[in-house]
Symmetry: C2
Subunit: 148 residues, 2 copies
Protein backbone atom coordinates (compact mmCIF):
# COMPACT_ATOMS: atom_id res chain seq x y z
CA UNK A 1 0.00 0.00 0.00
CA UNK A 2 0.99 3.56 -0.72
CA UNK A 3 2.57 5.26 2.28
CA UNK A 4 1.10 8.62 1.38
CA UNK A 5 -2.39 7.27 1.72
CA UNK A 6 -1.61 5.13 4.75
CA UNK A 7 -0.16 8.11 6.56
CA UNK A 8 -3.09 10.30 5.58
CA UNK A 9 -5.47 7.75 7.05
CA UNK A 10 -3.57 7.01 10.23
CA UNK A 11 -2.89 10.66 10.87
CA UNK A 12 -6.51 11.57 10.20
CA UNK A 13 -7.60 9.03 12.81
CA UNK A 14 -5.06 10.31 15.29
CA UNK A 15 -6.04 13.94 14.79
CA UNK A 16 -9.74 13.21 14.94
CA UNK A 17 -9.13 11.47 18.25
CA UNK A 18 -7.26 14.43 19.66
CA UNK A 19 -9.67 17.12 18.47
CA UNK A 20 -12.87 15.25 19.21
CA UNK A 21 -11.61 14.52 22.70
CA UNK A 22 -10.48 18.10 23.18
CA UNK A 23 -13.87 19.38 22.09
CA UNK A 24 -15.57 16.93 24.42
CA UNK A 25 -13.33 18.10 27.23
CA UNK A 26 -14.35 21.70 26.61
CA UNK A 27 -18.03 20.78 26.65
CA UNK A 28 -17.76 18.58 29.74
CA UNK A 29 -15.59 20.93 31.77
CA UNK A 30 -18.53 23.08 32.97
CA UNK A 31 -20.04 19.90 34.40
CA UNK A 32 -16.83 19.11 36.23
CA UNK A 33 -16.21 16.05 34.08
CA UNK A 34 -13.13 14.92 32.20
CA UNK A 35 -13.44 13.13 28.87
CA UNK A 36 -13.81 9.40 29.40
CA UNK A 37 -15.87 9.84 32.54
CA UNK A 38 -18.96 10.69 30.53
CA UNK A 39 -18.77 7.27 28.90
CA UNK A 40 -18.92 5.64 32.31
CA UNK A 41 -21.93 7.67 33.37
CA UNK A 42 -23.75 7.03 30.10
CA UNK A 43 -23.08 3.32 30.32
CA UNK A 44 -24.48 3.17 33.85
CA UNK A 45 -27.46 5.21 32.76
CA UNK A 46 -28.06 2.89 29.85
CA UNK A 47 -27.51 -0.46 31.52
CA UNK A 48 -28.13 0.14 35.19
CA UNK A 49 -25.98 -1.04 38.11
CA UNK A 50 -23.08 -3.18 37.04
CA UNK A 51 -19.82 -4.74 38.12
CA UNK A 52 -16.56 -2.94 37.44
CA UNK A 53 -15.37 -5.73 35.19
CA UNK A 54 -18.48 -5.31 33.06
CA UNK A 55 -17.82 -1.58 32.96
CA UNK A 56 -14.27 -2.12 31.79
CA UNK A 57 -15.58 -4.33 29.03
CA UNK A 58 -18.31 -1.91 28.02
CA UNK A 59 -15.98 1.09 28.03
CA UNK A 60 -13.27 -0.76 26.18
CA UNK A 61 -10.62 -0.01 28.75
CA UNK A 62 -8.76 -1.99 31.39
CA UNK A 63 -9.80 -2.66 35.01
CA UNK A 64 -7.17 -0.38 36.55
CA UNK A 65 -8.57 2.52 34.56
CA UNK A 66 -12.03 1.75 35.90
CA UNK A 67 -10.71 1.62 39.44
CA UNK A 68 -9.36 5.15 39.20
CA UNK A 69 -12.29 6.62 37.32
CA UNK A 70 -14.87 5.15 39.65
CA UNK A 71 -12.91 6.41 42.62
CA UNK A 72 -12.98 9.97 41.31
CA UNK A 73 -16.62 9.85 40.26
CA UNK A 74 -17.49 8.44 43.66
CA UNK A 75 -15.62 11.24 45.41
CA UNK A 76 -17.58 13.69 43.28
CA UNK A 77 -20.79 12.01 44.42
CA UNK A 78 -21.94 10.90 40.99
CA UNK A 79 -21.78 7.18 41.55
CA UNK A 80 -21.96 4.76 44.46
CA UNK A 81 -20.06 1.53 44.99
CA UNK A 82 -21.32 -1.33 47.10
CA UNK A 83 -20.01 -4.84 47.68
CA UNK A 84 -21.76 -7.41 45.51
CA UNK A 85 -23.97 -9.67 47.61
CA UNK A 86 -23.18 -12.86 45.77
CA UNK A 87 -19.48 -12.31 45.09
CA UNK A 88 -17.24 -10.83 47.73
CA UNK A 89 -14.62 -9.95 45.13
CA UNK A 90 -16.86 -7.72 43.05
CA UNK A 91 -18.36 -4.32 43.70
CA UNK A 92 -21.48 -3.05 41.99
CA UNK A 93 -21.45 0.48 40.68
CA UNK A 94 -24.56 2.57 40.24
CA UNK A 95 -25.55 6.15 39.61
CA UNK A 96 -26.57 8.43 42.44
CA UNK A 97 -29.37 10.92 41.90
CA UNK A 98 -26.93 13.67 41.06
CA UNK A 99 -25.13 11.26 38.77
CA UNK A 100 -28.35 10.53 36.94
CA UNK A 101 -29.04 14.24 36.59
CA UNK A 102 -25.54 14.74 35.28
CA UNK A 103 -26.00 11.95 32.75
CA UNK A 104 -29.06 13.72 31.42
CA UNK A 105 -27.05 16.85 30.84
CA UNK A 106 -24.28 14.85 29.20
CA UNK A 107 -26.82 13.44 26.78
CA UNK A 108 -27.68 16.92 25.59
CA UNK A 109 -24.05 17.81 25.14
CA UNK A 110 -23.52 14.55 23.30
CA UNK A 111 -26.20 15.40 20.79
CA UNK A 112 -24.73 18.86 20.29
CA UNK A 113 -21.27 17.39 19.81
CA UNK A 114 -22.49 14.91 17.21
CA UNK A 115 -24.28 17.63 15.30
CA UNK A 116 -21.21 19.80 15.40
CA UNK A 117 -19.02 16.94 14.26
CA UNK A 118 -21.20 16.19 11.26
CA UNK A 119 -21.53 19.74 9.98
CA UNK A 120 -21.42 19.70 6.22
CA UNK A 121 -21.52 15.91 5.96
CA UNK A 122 -24.25 14.52 3.67
CA UNK A 123 -27.03 12.74 5.53
CA UNK A 124 -26.42 9.51 3.66
CA UNK A 125 -22.76 9.51 4.63
CA UNK A 126 -23.59 10.40 8.21
CA UNK A 127 -26.08 7.56 8.45
CA UNK A 128 -23.45 5.00 7.53
CA UNK A 129 -20.65 6.58 9.51
CA UNK A 130 -21.08 4.84 12.89
CA UNK A 131 -21.16 1.43 11.25
CA UNK A 132 -18.13 2.28 9.15
CA UNK A 133 -16.17 3.42 12.19
CA UNK A 134 -17.16 0.26 14.03
CA UNK A 135 -15.84 -1.79 11.13
CA UNK A 136 -12.50 -0.01 11.31
CA UNK A 137 -12.46 -0.48 15.07
CA UNK A 138 -13.18 -4.19 14.79
CA UNK A 139 -10.39 -4.51 12.24
CA UNK A 140 -7.76 -3.31 14.67
CA UNK A 141 -9.33 -4.72 17.81
CA UNK A 142 -7.16 -7.31 19.48
CA UNK A 143 -9.43 -7.79 22.45
CA UNK A 144 -11.49 -10.93 22.87
CA UNK A 145 -14.72 -10.08 21.07
CA UNK A 146 -17.75 -9.58 23.23
CA UNK A 147 -21.18 -10.60 22.05
CA UNK A 148 -23.97 -8.21 22.85
Amino acid sequence: MDFEYADALNQAIRLLSLRHRARAAALLAPLGLHPGQEALLLELDRTGPMIQAQLADALGCEPPSVTLMTRKLESAGHIRRAPAPSDKRASVVELTDTGRALAARVKELWCALAEETLRGVPAATAAELPALLRTLTANVDTRPARDA
Copy 2:
Protein backbone atom coordinates in the same frame (compact mmCIF):
# COMPACT_ATOMS: atom_id res chain seq x y z
CA MET B 1 -30.80 15.27 17.08
CA ASP B 2 -31.51 11.74 18.23
CA PHE B 3 -29.42 10.73 21.24
CA GLU B 4 -29.21 7.14 20.09
CA TYR B 5 -27.44 8.19 16.94
CA ALA B 6 -25.31 10.86 18.61
CA ASP B 7 -24.10 8.37 21.19
CA ALA B 8 -23.39 5.79 18.53
CA LEU B 9 -21.26 8.29 16.65
CA ASN B 10 -19.40 9.72 19.61
CA GLN B 11 -18.79 6.32 21.11
CA ALA B 12 -17.61 4.96 17.76
CA ILE B 13 -15.07 7.76 17.52
CA ARG B 14 -13.92 7.17 21.07
CA LEU B 15 -13.55 3.43 20.59
CA LEU B 16 -11.79 3.80 17.26
CA SER B 17 -9.33 6.11 18.98
CA LEU B 18 -8.65 3.63 21.74
CA ARG B 19 -8.31 0.57 19.53
CA HIS B 20 -6.37 2.18 16.74
CA ARG B 21 -3.96 3.61 19.24
CA ALA B 22 -3.68 0.29 21.05
CA ARG B 23 -2.96 -1.51 17.80
CA ALA B 24 -0.37 1.12 16.91
CA ALA B 25 1.20 0.65 20.33
CA ALA B 26 1.49 -3.08 19.75
CA LEU B 27 3.13 -2.54 16.37
CA LEU B 28 5.49 0.15 17.62
CA ALA B 29 6.53 -1.59 20.81
CA PRO B 30 9.15 -3.81 19.10
CA LEU B 31 10.80 -0.60 17.87
CA GLY B 32 10.85 0.80 21.38
CA LEU B 33 8.36 3.51 20.49
CA HIS B 34 5.18 4.62 22.17
CA PRO B 35 2.19 5.82 20.15
CA GLY B 36 2.45 9.50 19.44
CA GLN B 37 6.22 9.40 19.09
CA GLU B 38 5.96 7.91 15.60
CA ALA B 39 4.10 11.02 14.48
CA LEU B 40 6.99 13.16 15.60
CA LEU B 41 9.53 11.03 13.75
CA LEU B 42 7.42 10.94 10.60
CA GLU B 43 6.94 14.68 10.68
CA LEU B 44 10.69 15.27 10.97
CA ASP B 45 11.29 12.78 8.20
CA ARG B 46 8.77 14.53 5.99
CA THR B 47 9.66 18.13 6.68
CA GLY B 48 13.25 18.10 7.87
CA PRO B 49 14.69 19.97 10.87
CA MET B 50 12.21 22.18 12.59
CA ILE B 51 11.49 24.22 15.70
CA GLN B 52 9.56 22.65 18.56
CA ALA B 53 6.75 25.15 18.17
CA GLN B 54 6.35 24.07 14.55
CA LEU B 55 6.34 20.47 15.69
CA ALA B 56 3.61 21.14 18.20
CA ASP B 57 1.56 22.74 15.47
CA ALA B 58 2.17 19.91 12.99
CA LEU B 59 1.40 17.21 15.54
CA GLY B 60 -1.66 18.99 16.82
CA CYS B 61 -0.54 18.97 20.41
CA GLU B 62 0.73 21.53 22.88
CA PRO B 63 4.32 22.67 23.45
CA PRO B 64 4.71 20.96 26.84
CA SER B 65 3.91 17.64 25.21
CA VAL B 66 6.60 18.25 22.62
CA THR B 67 9.10 19.10 25.32
CA LEU B 68 8.62 15.73 27.00
CA MET B 69 8.45 13.68 23.82
CA THR B 70 11.56 15.24 22.33
CA ARG B 71 13.40 14.70 25.58
CA LYS B 72 12.64 10.98 25.51
CA LEU B 73 13.37 10.57 21.83
CA GLU B 74 16.62 12.42 22.32
CA SER B 75 17.59 10.15 25.22
CA ALA B 76 16.86 7.20 22.95
CA GLY B 77 19.17 8.69 20.34
CA HIS B 78 16.55 9.09 17.63
CA ILE B 79 16.63 12.87 17.40
CA ARG B 80 19.04 15.71 18.14
CA ARG B 81 18.29 19.15 19.53
CA ALA B 82 20.42 22.19 18.93
CA PRO B 83 19.93 25.86 19.77
CA ALA B 84 18.56 27.83 16.86
CA PRO B 85 21.23 30.20 15.48
CA SER B 86 18.92 33.12 14.84
CA ASP B 87 16.64 32.82 17.87
CA LYS B 88 18.01 32.06 21.31
CA ARG B 89 14.62 30.97 22.53
CA ALA B 90 14.10 28.21 20.00
CA SER B 91 15.76 24.85 19.52
CA VAL B 92 15.83 23.03 16.22
CA VAL B 93 15.02 19.33 16.24
CA GLU B 94 16.29 16.91 13.62
CA LEU B 95 16.54 13.18 13.06
CA THR B 96 19.74 11.31 13.78
CA ASP B 97 20.81 8.49 11.47
CA THR B 98 19.21 5.90 13.73
CA GLY B 99 16.13 8.08 13.90
CA ARG B 100 15.93 8.16 10.13
CA ALA B 101 16.32 4.40 9.96
CA LEU B 102 13.59 4.05 12.56
CA ALA B 103 11.28 6.33 10.59
CA ALA B 104 11.72 4.06 7.57
CA ARG B 105 10.57 1.09 9.60
CA VAL B 106 7.66 3.05 11.01
CA LYS B 107 6.55 3.79 7.45
CA GLU B 108 6.26 0.09 6.74
CA LEU B 109 4.27 -0.48 9.90
CA TRP B 110 2.07 2.46 9.03
CA CYS B 111 1.18 0.93 5.68
CA ALA B 112 0.41 -2.39 7.33
CA LEU B 113 -1.76 -0.67 9.93
CA ALA B 114 -3.74 1.21 7.31
CA GLU B 115 -4.33 -1.98 5.32
CA GLU B 116 -5.44 -3.76 8.45
CA THR B 117 -7.74 -0.92 9.40
CA LEU B 118 -9.46 -0.91 6.00
CA ARG B 119 -10.06 -4.63 5.73
CA GLY B 120 -13.46 -5.22 4.16
CA VAL B 121 -13.99 -1.54 3.35
CA PRO B 122 -14.91 -0.82 -0.29
CA ALA B 123 -12.18 0.96 -2.23
CA ALA B 124 -14.43 3.88 -3.05
CA THR B 125 -15.26 4.41 0.62
CA ALA B 126 -11.63 4.04 1.61
CA ALA B 127 -10.56 6.61 -0.95
CA GLU B 128 -12.83 9.23 0.55
CA LEU B 129 -12.22 8.30 4.15
CA PRO B 130 -9.23 10.51 4.98
CA ALA B 131 -10.96 13.59 3.62
CA LEU B 132 -14.13 12.70 5.51
CA LEU B 133 -12.24 12.30 8.76
CA ARG B 134 -10.48 15.59 8.19
CA THR B 135 -13.84 17.25 7.72
CA LEU B 136 -15.04 15.88 11.04
CA THR B 137 -11.80 16.97 12.67
CA ALA B 138 -12.08 20.49 11.30
CA ASN B 139 -15.65 20.66 12.57
CA VAL B 140 -14.60 20.16 16.17
CA ASP B 141 -11.24 21.89 15.94
CA THR B 142 -11.02 24.93 18.16
CA ARG B 143 -7.40 25.66 17.36
CA PRO B 144 -6.44 28.59 15.20
CA ALA B 145 -6.43 27.09 11.69
CA ARG B 146 -3.07 26.68 10.08
CA ASP B 147 -2.71 27.08 6.35
CA ALA B 148 -0.55 24.52 4.61
